[in-house]
């Protein structure tokens, strides 16, 4: 069914966004600035791994070719990953990580609200559960943007640099072809509100970098997948 195929790709996009971001966040485990922050980032990562498992699992069912979430996560190469470029960006320092989370989670929250109302019942169920989780992620990240933006001179400089790094990947989220343009105005308002509270300026508009939704990623994804997929690929057929 033509509708199903679009739904498959849709579920893959949602799953890949969550998977790649979770993989990035879990790199902080044991290395965060404070123990309490370590727990918080791990919590967000766990929520996202959960979402990834559900979305990719559903994608596999929709595809109907016997691929489950693990097959999709561990046995596709870069051209078949459909995550946005934003989530595969490196962690950098804590400000860069927060910038990525801030921009992504505020969008993902709006998106999951829509997904929760989707006609496809199984998709809607995953979205409904995700809304609660992502509301917290967005709030957590926004609070840190304010602390860092309006903290010390150093934290302010780093927060500006973090947002500057990530800003070229924003337009992809709202791309008219495979993004969610209708969510842009509300997202813009949220971002502006937090940045104002943080005493930060809106980053200058710049040329968008696109391609993630079509499988054309940054150089980072190849390395990330190398690490993530090593064991299943080195030991084909093994059960863990």
């Amino acid at each position: 069914m033509p509708g199903e195929d679009n739904l498959f790709h849709h579920a893959v996009r949602l799953g890949d966004d969550a998977l790649i971001l979770a993989q990035r966040l879990s790199e902080w485990c044991g290395h965060a600035p404070m123990l309490e922050v370590d727990l918080a980032l791990a919590n967000i990562a766990l929520d996202l791994f959960g979402q990834a498992t559900f979305f990719l699992g559903l994608a596999g069912k929709l595809e109907g070719q016997g691929r489950d979430a693990n097959a999709l996560a561990f046995h596709r190469d870069v051209l078949d990953f459909r995550n946005c470029l934003l989530v595969e960006q490196p962690n950098g320092d804590f400000a860069q990580t927060i910038a990525r989370q801030f921009l992504f989670s505020n969008w993902q929250e709006l998106l999951m609200r829509e997904i929760a109302a989707a006609p496809e019942v199984r998709l809607a169920a995953i979205g409904a559960k995700a809304v609660k989780e992502v509301t917290y992620h967005a709030r957590y990240a926004s609070e840190w943007v304010v602390r860092l933006g309006d903290g010390t001179e150093e934290s302010r400089a780093r927060m500006i640099a973090g947002l500057d790094w990530m800003w070229r990947f924003v337009d992809e989220l709202f791309d008219s072809r495979d993004g969610t343009p209708s969510l842009r105005p509300e997202w813009d308002a949220r971002i502006a509100r937090t940045l104002a509270e943080a005493n930060l300026e809106l980053p200058k508009p710049r040329r968008a970098v696109l391609g993630g939704r079509a499988g054309h990623h940054s150089e980072h994804l190849g390395h990330l997948l190398c690490e993530m997929q090593f064991l299943p690929r080195a030991y084909p057929g093994a059960v863990w």
Partner: protein
């Protein structure tokens, strides 16, 4: 085990003179402890009790935090989504356990920053098991099965340790710990029953982690001078050798059940004792690792110090922001 009586550098060998302190209060304190009552933060306590407990609890906390590193090493490479999430949850739990324990230690009057400084400077010790490297995915199974298994053995009796905040932290920790051990054993089970390559990894992991796990229970009883007082004060419930024997007796059948061989040629069931006889531990290795010469001790400390130093600007920023916010509100 995380609480092996590893002395801090520069610590005096014997506890401070007990008799010099108020003899009536001391007697009352000892009576309370002997009757299984709990000591709470504002109660009078001998200085030696406070010092010993602060050291033991903070050592335990440091162990949990450093313990996040060998397992954290494999989160990005976990071979399935479920294994990845479970491992991340386990490592997060360990961070949480460290947090509970730092919180308990703080009630004795030492700040968390002081304890962290002590760890980073090398004065404070932590369980040396974490100074061994994790080389394959099977190591993650071995750690959960053996290291957490050993920890559980020590921690269960500590739920009735004399100091209230410590006992409560231990209750919380014990509830969370059994999932940790089961996930590790399940990994070993899957690999031992898997392909030849997986079975080889599982056996290799057991070969490398068995003896260090036995060392977790600390020096032999005849080399543990503070045991008697710690037991009287209910800081320690059983001796090192007792716990070590229990661990062997419980774990060997678990290895047998999945077809793995414990790397001890002297291991033998002793019908008369109803226990396993086992080989001699390499005490030279034990004391070398305790001295700080474990294979990846440098890496572990470097990682912790780096995380702390790299995070300084973040911690400062949060405080600076709150100060600004409070000032603004006060001005209104």
């Amino acid at each position: 085990m995380y609480t092996t009586e590893l002395k801090d550098k520069n610590a005096k060998a014997a506890p401070a003179a007990l008799a010099a302190e108020d003899p009536e209060r001391l007697a009352a304190f000892e009576a309370r402890v002997a009757s299984d009552d709990f000591i709470e933060p504002k109660d009078w306590m001998p200085e030696a009790y406070r010092k010993t407990l602060t050291r033991q609890i903070s050592q335990h906390a440091h162990s949990e935090i450093v313990g996040m590193l060998p397992e954290g090493n494999w989160i990005s490479r976990a071979p399935s989504l479920r294994r990845k999430a479970v491992l991340l949850a386990k490592v997060q739990d360990e961070g949480g356990h460290g947090l509970y324990l730092y919180a308990a230690a703080e009630t004795l009057g030492t700040s968390r920053d002081e304890m962290i400084e002590s760890l980073h400077s090398g004065r404070a010790k932590y369980s040396t098991i974490f100074n061994y490297p994790t080389l394959t995915w099977a190591d993650i199974g071995a750690i959960g099965w053996l290291v957490d298994g050993a920890a559980i053995m020590n921690q269960v009796p500590l739920q009735r340790t004399s100091y209230g905040p410590y006992a409560r932290a231990m209750v919380r920790i014990c509830k969370e710990e059994s999932f940790h051990q089961r996930q590790g054993y399940e990994i070993m089970m899957a690999m031992a029953g898997g392909s030849a390559a997986q079975k080889r990894m599982a056996q290799d992991a057991l070969d490398r982690w068995w003896w260090p796990s036995l060392m977790m229970f600390g020096p032999p009883d005849d080399n543990s001078p503070n045991s008697a007082q710690s037991i009287r004060w209910r800081i320690k419930r059983e001796t090192n050798d007792e716990l070590r024997q229990k661990f062997v007796d419980v774990t060997v059948p678990q290895a047998d059940a999945i077809g793995l061989t414990v790397p001890d040629p002297a291991l033998k069931w002793n019908e008369a004792r109803g226990s396993y006889d086992f080989g001699e531990i390499d005490w030279e290795e034990f004391y070398a690792v305790v001295r700080g010469e474990g294979p990846v001790a440098k890496e572990r400390m470097m990682a912790r110090v780096k995380a702390w130093e790299d995070g300084a600007w973040v911690r400062e920023a949060a405080l600076a922001h709150e100060a600004k916010r409070s000032a603004r509100m006060a001005a209104e």
